[in-house]
């Protein structure tokens, strides 16, 4: 029964996507939106039913594998169209469908005046479907399928406004980087098959400890290849450059991609394959260190850039970094818990940002925003709640989840203490940049757009422009409409944001150290065989960690207040004083340039070389050589072709004679 519900979880979004996509001419826009919302809500309901079914099982057999049909089977490599349902995948299903439902409801209002309403919801449903395939996959090949479909759906959504050059470029970048990640997974899956003879989760995780010894090179290679996939999808160093550009998509897309689903796939992957990673601690450490590096670097970038959505995007990178550290050092349930809370508050932040950007007529630069506290009180409130949760303010959900990871690093001692320090610094930065947004946007005298909203009661409709290049655009198709929608005036948006705000505040109660620890207990069957399953800090240590985290968060908020409210001249001075560092951060540590230099340009150079040099001289030369040879051979025999009939006859005679003589000589 559980499996049936799980299949239905997959079915509904797919059906929704197809229905909306195929009826774009028949159905009115609103109906399409409703179908989209209904499909995801139905999936959520099915997910809950699957959860209930699963909880009915005894703890030791709390996993179900189910297969529809044999997908392909050659040379022992048998691939089923199968799913694997266990607490971990159900946890992900609920997070994904839950947050996606809210995002769909938000989009229903937010995209109201967009020209491609059907297309948007079709893509959106397809995205959810792909993500569900990813989390429910029953073997590594299905995982790759989900993985790549998510990549495709994110491409489609990022370049949703396809007539913006910037959007299509960003989509391309995201897609290609994701494909590179996919290749990592291909190779990992092939290696797994080669060593273990199967790609099914059940078999693989069962046999792996028997086949591999700890840190044997094969298992390390497998895990590193898996990590390539994980890094690419989760925008960790050095595959992070696509994420900021992905902000070209509509705001609900940003929140869907960044908050709940796509970027957390890497975290899910490591948690799913924890059996393998525990056999290859080196690879797990790599994951943790890359996560640490990413969280620090992304934090500094988030402090410097001024594009509202990009700040939140870099913050996402940074938070995913926390999750990587979490699952890398063995704090699986903490990592998954942070994944969930992050989904709530980051989705909320993006939605609030979307609302503000709408009010700014698609302007995204925080330098130009001011005084939205009065203009949009609801949005302002949700923004503050999101920022508090993000910076780990005591009592908020982010406080419980993030500090649990940080604490676990300290608990493992040794070199992990360095991570602990790094993450604390990261936490301080998180608090500062979160409240940098708040303090720059909300207080103070209202800017032009905010004032317009206060005065006229509706949103300003400026000339449609590409926010990245400021080019004027036409609005016929493939562009956001002229009208903008803000939470204050659209019920759907308000509803979704209110629920998320509520969850951002209270989700922490699920995992209060020493009190309930619901998430840990729920996920226990999945991580039962893990060596870290029964290692956790004592309740006292945990609360000590929470206290530290809370203090750092408050300190960060205070610093932000000092910098942006009390002494607004200070940031400018810092900027002048440390201009080199600032330039570095504003330019995102030159990540794009580095990738261009190391990958793109060499590949392009190879292409140019092939095209201009090799093809021209070698291939065409050879072809011309062949042609020339034929031609000169032709020229050589052309003289014989004098047109003299009798000459031809003589030649014939020669031929006959030659043949006759040949046979005569042979017969001798």
């Amino acid at each position: 029964m559980t499996a049936t519900w799980a299949w239905l979880v997959l079915l509904f979004p797919l059906l929704g996507s197809l229905t909306i996509g195929l009826t774009f001419k028949a159905l009115p826009d609103r109906t399409a939106g409703l179908i989209g919302v209904a499909a995801i809500v139905a999936a959520f309901v099915c997910g809950v039913l699957a959860l209930i079914g699963l909880q009915g099982e005894p703890s030791e057999s709390r996993h179900v594998a189910s297969s529809l049909w044999e997908y392909a089977n050659v040379g022992g490599l048998k691939i089923d169209l199968g799913i694997y349902v266990d607490p971990l995948s159900i946890f992900m299903v609920l997070v994904v469908t839950g947050v996606s439902s809210l995002i769909h409801i938000y989009s229903y209002s937010y995209m109201k005046s967009d020209q491609g309403y059907h297309r948007f919801f079709s893509y959106l449903n397809f995205f959810v479907f792909s993500m569900l395939v990813l989390v429910l996959a029953g073997n590594f090949v299905m995982l790759i399928v989900g993985w790549a479909l998510v990549g495709f759906a994110s491409y489609a959504l990022i370049s949703y406004w396809y007539r913006r050059n910037t959007a299509t470029k960003a989509g391309m970048k995201a897609f290609v980087i994701n494909v590179i990640g996919d290749i990592g997974l291909y190779i990992a899956a092939i290696l797994i098959f080669k060593n273990l003879g199967s790609v099914d989760y059940g078999t693989v995780f069962e046999k792996a400890p028997e086949v591999f010894s700890t840190n044997q090179w094969e298992i390390v290679a497998i895990c590193l290849c898996l990590l390539v996939g994980a890094f690419a999808k989760s925008a960790q160093m050095p595959f992070h450059t696509w994420l900021a550009d992905a902000m070209e998509g509509p705001t609900p897309v940003s929140s869907l991609i960044h908050a709940a689903t796509m970027v957390t796939a890497g975290v899910y992957l490591i948690a799913r394959c924890h059996t393998l990673f525990e056999l290859a601690p080196t690879a797990a450490d790599v994951a943790a260190f890359v996560g640490l590096a990413t969280l620090l670097i992304a934090g500094t970038i988030a402090l410097a850039v001024t594009d509202l959505k990009r700040i939140i995007a870099y913050s996402t990178m940074s938070q995913i970094g926390y999750m990587f550290v979490g699952v890398g050092i063995g704090a699986y349930s903490a990592g998954m818990f942070h994944l969930m809370t992050h989904a709530f508050f980051k989705a909320l932040l993006f939605m609030a940002a979307g609302s503000i950007i709408s009010a700014m007529a698609n302007m995204q630069d925080i330098d130009k925003m001011k005084g939205f506290r009065k203009a949009m009180p609801f949005t302002a409130a949700t923004l503050i709640i999101g920022a508090l949760a993000l910076s780990g303010f005591p009592g908020m959900s982010g406080w419980f989840s993030k500090d649990e990871i940080i604490d676990f690093a300290h608990f493992r001692r040794g070199m992990y203490d360095w991570m602990w320090v790094g993450m604390l610094i990261g936490a301080l930065m998180t608090a500062i940049y979160s409240f940098r947004i708040i303090f720059r946007i909300l207080p103070g005298p209202a800017c032009e757009e905010a004032q317009y909203l206060i005065d006229k009661g509706h949103v300003i409709h400026g000339e449609p422009k590409n926010p990245a290049t400021n080019e004027v655009e036409d609005t016929e198709v493939g562009y956001p409409g002229e009208e903008h929608h803000i939470a204050e005036q659209a019920g759907g948006m308000k509803f979704a944001m209110a629920i998320l705000a509520f969850l951002s505040i209270v989700a922490g109660v699920l995992q209060i150290p020493g009190v309930d620890e619901v998430v840990t207990k729920f996920l226990e069957p999945t991580f039962e065989n893990s060596v870290f399953a029964h290692m956790h800090p004592s309740t006292g240590e945990a609360w000590l960690g929470l206290t530290e985290g809370g203090l750092i968060s408050i300190a960060g908020i205070a610093i932000a207040w000092l910098l942006y409210i009390k002494r607004p001249d200070l940031p400018g001075k810092f900027r002048q004083r440390f201009s080199a560092i600032h330039t570095l951060c504003v330019n995102k540590w030159y990540g794009d340039e580095l990738v261009d230099f190391l990958v793109t340009n060499p590949v392009k150079a190879v292409g140019r070389f092939c095209n201009r040099v090799f093809e021209r001289f070698a291939i065409d030369g050879a072809t011309a050589g062949v042609a020339g040879l034929t031609r000169s051979a032709g020229a050589a025999v052309r003289d014989i072709q004098s047109g003299m009939l009798r000459g031809y006859a003589l030649l014939m005679l020669f031929g006959i004679l030659a043949i006759a003589v040949y046979f005569l000589i042979r017969s001798l």
Binding site: G647, I656, V661
Partner: protein, 199 residues
Amino acid sequence: MEEVAFFIGAIGALGAAAAVVALKNPFYSVLALVIHLVFLAGIFLLLMAQFLAASLIVVYAGAVMVLYVFVAAYVGGIEEPKWDASPELRVIGPIMAVALFVAISIAVLGSGLAALGTPGPDDIPAGFGTPEAIGHLMMEDFLIAFEAASLLLLVAAVAAIVLAGRRRGDKGSGTEQRKVLVKADEQANAQVAGNGEGA
């Protein structure tokens, strides 16, 4: 007796052939070829090919050569100019041809075919080379070849009409070309008649 007949026939045929090549006037060449064919028919008889000998005389010496005669007469006895575009052909050509002859002769004489040195088997079936035997073969074993040949003949007749036919605006009189056509038809008819005899 047979030897005498063969040598007379061989010398006659060779002499006439040489005359075909050597005579300046094409009209005479045609006549020489007729003589050659007559001698050749005699040799055919020696090889027990009565029907072929007859058809060689009737069809070839009779019909085809008449065609040659008409054309030669129509075109006129054109003397070849003394100057030859490629004089080397006059020298190399015969030398090569003779070399070919030598090669073939060596091949024939030196070959391991023991039967070559005999006059052929004696126990040949009765009626060897008679119209009846040939007719049976034609209509039974080689029907496809026979049909193909007749088709070829038809195509050739049409081709001759197209090639020699009067173009629009061509002022020349139609008689000659009609003759050609008639000859071509005759040719075909003669052939068919010959076959008919066999059957």
